[in-house]
């Protein structure tokens, strides 16, 4: 289960959204929906996930020896499939290849929450390990009983219990046929099935690449946009020309006359389905040619930060009320300071732009809706479908094939709802794949943010006061990890112009950008080296460790003394979601030449995947740091395409040097997000060192 904090972080606006559409009920459907409470108990097939015992909901042993692990988590490239299979293999004493994973299917898998917030490692690995350890204990028990020997004398190796002489095997296939398993399946997880200590790990802690890699390199893997069902049609949706525009007039006749085309107009929804996507597009284009829209005012991005500040919710507002945390007395802290500094920072909207845009295939069979779609939150998508179509949860199945990227951007079900509406009308399966332009404009954005900072230093360069106000960006990573006796930290919700939601690292990127750049300004004011200044104000031992590890590997002290024209070095550090990161950067003219990063997330479960996540986070972070910013005017995007919105490419990749700090003495936490937060501030600080110009806005545009 996701924890409360994850659900209610204010920047996860997308999780509180109602469904994109709410469709009407026909009279027949109304009767069915109203009577559904009675009906389902009689006829609906109960979903596997809801009816099984604790062990069986997580793990299945087949009589042919196949071991299946069930998880509600999604694979979007972050490595959850392989990591969870490794966790099970470790405890079952099986080679990881023998584990079959069933993931993210609301009819089959348990509720593991959304695949977000770096929660798979801390929240889903443990129950998978416990269930697998329980199965291993059952195997020992059953073998001991079977052979009438002391269970303590048996061991499990390569998927079987072995007797002390080593000439008898009792395998998971044998267990599957035994009555012990049937009983244990229904019971709560047996207590006392200890998970393997780190020092004895054979699978966890070793590098493993993606288990289904062969299907990826041969093109055999079917992403959500690749699924094809018998008699399937392709869908296209009519989009408003600008944000907030409402359709007043549309003539459907031309589209309706096209052979094989299904046309739907209901409320704000207009879409077509056809045997090919080209025919569906042409049908929608014919409708668009007749459409008239009412378009409201919409602010341009060049007034964005004024607009946000004007629309900050300062009082009341329930969940949108300002969040203010104070410590000591800010006034006292400022009064005690010898030097004060004030600065304003800005962070724009950016788009996730995963390689695979939103996609869904919807199919109705005897009143039950099945949707295969690329989402990080299948249960939330199921709820949205339930609401949109007035169904009961048992009547909706959401299944997520391994998907082409998410980065926090695929938590919602709009594409699933649209596909389902078209499929319902056509009485045939419909595949709807958003175009890149739709994904840019109609998916949600990482929120923009405005930051007002003020701090005071004493004569020794120690912080006496810290005042940090964040408008709209969100609360992750909001609090300073530095030692400050007097502080005020605020988050102000704003009535923002664009639809916003989670993005890899959520607000921690924006908060760290403002804080870590400002710390550099303060180091300058104290006439101290940025590393020395941070260490003097920092107690957290784990954060100090990564900061020192990065600085040492990079050669911070020596390289800071180098003074080539156009060259500069910068650093930044931070913590979020229980892990710790520090980065050192060298820029040379218009190029980021080198990034050294030290990262610590407890015990390392899969070093190969961890390194890939850190590399990916750094390079993806380069985009937000250097080039990405959504521009808009009159409710339209000005740069909603890869041609106009540059994201990192091969040529932009700097030399990377990554130090993975392993802490086998600490619990493992998720690592997909936090490495990104140090990238932009370290670059901005290096740019200052190189040019003497302080960049106070992302992206930091490097000049040649």
């Amino acid at each position: 289960m996701p924890d409360e904090k994850e659900c209610f972080e204010p920047e996860r606006y997308e999780l509180r959204e109602p469904p994109a559409h709410q469709f009407a009920l026909s009279r027949r459907e109304f009767v069915e929906a109203a009577g559904a409470g009675l009906l389902i108990s009689v006829v609906a097939m109960p979903a596997r996930a809801q009816t099984r015992g604790a062990l069986e909901s997580r793990l299945h042993l087949a009589e042919d020896g196949t071991v299946t692990i069930f998880t509600g988590k999604v694979e979007v490239g972050q490595g959850s499939r392989t990591e969870l299979a490794m966790a099970a293999a470790e405890e079952l004493r099986l080679p990881v290849e023998r584990i079959r994973m069933v993931m993210a299917d609301t009819d089959l898998t348990p509720n593991d929450g959304a695949s977000s917030g770096s929660r798979t490692t801390p929240a889903t690995v443990p129950p998978v390990r416990s269930a697998a350890a329980a199965a291993r204990e059952l195997l020992l028990e059953a073998a001991a009983r079977h052979w009438q020997v002391d269970r303590a004398r048996l061991e499990v190796r390569d998927g079987a219990a072995l007797d002390p002489a080593g000439n008898r095997r009792f395998s998971y296939a044998d267990l599957a046929r035994s009555p012990e398993l049937a009983t244990a399946y229904k019971a709560a997880l047996p207590a006392g099935a200890a998970v393997t200590p780190v020092k004895d790990w054979r699978v966890l802690g070793t590098p493993r690449y993606r288990l289904d890699g062969r299907d990826i390199v041969t093109g055999a893997h079917r992403f959500p946009s690749d699924l094809q069902r018998p008699r399937m049609l392709y869908g296209t949706v009519l989009r408003p020309p600008s944000y907030g525009a409402t359709l007043t007039v549309a003539d459907l006749a031309a589209a309706q006359k096209m052979p094989g085309v299904t046309v739907v107009r209901e409320g704000a929804f207009v879409g077509c389905a056809a045997p090919t996507s080209r025919e569906a597009r042409k049908a929608v284009e014919a409708i668009a040619a007749t459409a008239q829209w009412e378009t409201p005012e919409h602010p341009p991005s060049n007034r964005l930060f004024t607009y946000l500040k004007e629309r900050a919710v300062r009082e009341g507002g329930d969940s949108r009320a300002p969040r203010v945390q104070t410590k000591g007395s800010l006034a006292d802290g400022l009064a005690q300071s010898q030097r004060r500094l004030h600065a304003v920072y800005q962070v724009p909207y950016i788009q996730h732009a995963p390689m695979e845009p939103r996609a869904a295939v919807a199919e109705w069979t005897n009143g039950k809706l099945t949707v295969w779609t690329g989402t990080q939150n299948p249960l939330q998508v199921r709820s949205q479908l339930v609401q949109a179509f007035h169904l009961t949860p048992e009547k909706v199945r959401v299944s997520v094939p391994d998907t082409g990227g998410g980065f926090g951007g695929k938590h919602t079900g709009e594409c699933a709802i649209e596909a389902a509406r078209l499929a319902k009308e056509a009485s045939r399966p419909v595949s709807l794949r958003w175009t890149r332009a739709e994904e840019f404009m109609w998916a949600y954005f990482r929120p923009a943010g405005l930051f007002e900072l003020e701090a005071g230093l004493d004569a020794a360069g120690l912080l006496t006061a810290w005042d940090f106000a964040n408008y709209n960006a969100g609360t992750a990573g909001l609090e300073t990890p530095y030692r400050v006796p007097h502080s005020r930290t605020q988050f102000l919700y704003c009535e923002a112009p664009l639809r916003s939601g989670s993005y890899r690292g959520i607000a921690a990127t924006a908060n760290h950008f403002a804080r870590e750049c400002f710390m550099d300004e303060l180091a300058g004011a104290a006439a101290q080296d940025p590393l020395d200044f941070r260490l003097a104000n920092l107690e957290n031992p784990r954060l100090r460790d990564v900061l020192l590890a990065a600085a040492q590997r990079f050669g911070w002290q020596e390289r800071r003394k180098e003074r080539r024209p156009g060259q500069g070095v910068g650093l930044a550090c931070g913590t979020e979601k229980g892990s710790y990161v520090a980065a050192c950067v060298e820029v040379q003219g218009s190029r980021v030449r080198e990034i050294t990063m030290a990262y610590e997330c407890g015990a390392i479960l899969n070093p190969a995947n961890l390194r890939a996540q850190v590399e990916g986070a750094i390079i993806q972070g380069l985009g937000g740091a250097l080039t990405e910013a959504i521009e808009f005017e009159k409710g339209k995007l000005l740069n909603g395409s890869f041609a106009k919105y540059p994201v990192p490419r091969f040529r932009d990749v700097p030399t990377l040097d990554i130090v993975l700090v392993n802490r086998p003495d600490l619990p493992a936490v998720g690592a997909g997000e936090t490495p990104i937060v140090a990238v932009a501030p370290a670059i901005a600080n290096a740019v200052f060192a190189a040019t003497g110009e302080r960049a106070r806005a992302m992206p930091v545009r490097l000049k040649a």
């Binding site: 979007v76 490239g77 972050q78 490595g79 690449y209 993606r210 890699g213 062969r214 990826i216 390199v217 041969t218 093109g219 055999a220 893997h221 079917r222 992403f223 946009s225 690749d226 094809q228 392709y234 090919t276 996507s277 080209r278 996730h352 732009a353 995963p354 390689m355 695979e356 845009p357 391994d402 998907t403 082409g404 990227g405 998410g406 980065f407 794949r433 175009t435 890149r436 332009a437 190969a608 890939a612 590399e615 990916g616 986070a617 750094i618 390079i619 993806q620 395409s641 890869f642 041609a643 994201v647 990192p648 490419r649 091969f650 040529r651 990749v653 990377l656």
Partner: protein
């Protein structure tokens, strides 16, 4: 207006009856079920849709089906020889050069075409050839390592 187009796809003669302007991408995916070919942007900026047309990598999203008439098309599904992976496919596996994997088919075909015309590419050559292909997971370092490995394997072989 439908016309019949004949071309070779992954070594097999195929014919489709369709409109001439339809993107090759959609014909391959929707008519021939070759879904290893990916849509990424529709404007030739990401090259997830790369296929080989007479051995040259092209963006199938911008290539009308008519332009493939009489030619040889190779998609990711046609790159391996039976169970034996193409050296670039094998190198992607050996280097773990994938995260979500959506960009991988386009990258492998682009790299395979590079190695056909340049058996000893430098890193600069590889980066130049692959710069048009986007990977939003930003797994570029491993992809570079994989193409390097495939090139080195080829070198040893002869």
């Amino acid at each position: 207006m439908s016309t019949t187009f004949r071309f070779t796809v992954n070594g097999k003669a195929r014919s489709v009856e369709t409109e001439a302007e339809r993107p090759l991408l959609e014909v391959l995916r929707e008519d021939l079920s070759l879904t290893g070919v990916k849509y990424g942007c529709g404007e030739g900026q990401c090259r997830a849709c790369t296929v080989l047309l007479d051995g040259r990598p092209v963006t199938s999203c911008l290539t009308p089906v008519s332009a493939a008439a009489g030619k040889k098309v190779v998609t990711i599904e046609g790159l391996a020889s039976g169970d034996r992976l193409h050296p670039v496919q094998q190198a992607f596996l050996d280097e773990g050069a994938m995260q979500c994997g959506y960009c991988v088919p386009g990258l492998i075909l682009t790299a395979a075409a590079l190695l056909e015309r340049n058996r000893r590419p430098t890193d600069a050559h590889i980066i130049e050839a692959l710069n048009g292909n986007l990977c939003r997971c930003c797994g570029y370092p491993r992809i570079l390592a994989a193409v390097r490995r495939a090139a080195e394997g080829g070198r040893h072989a002869g």
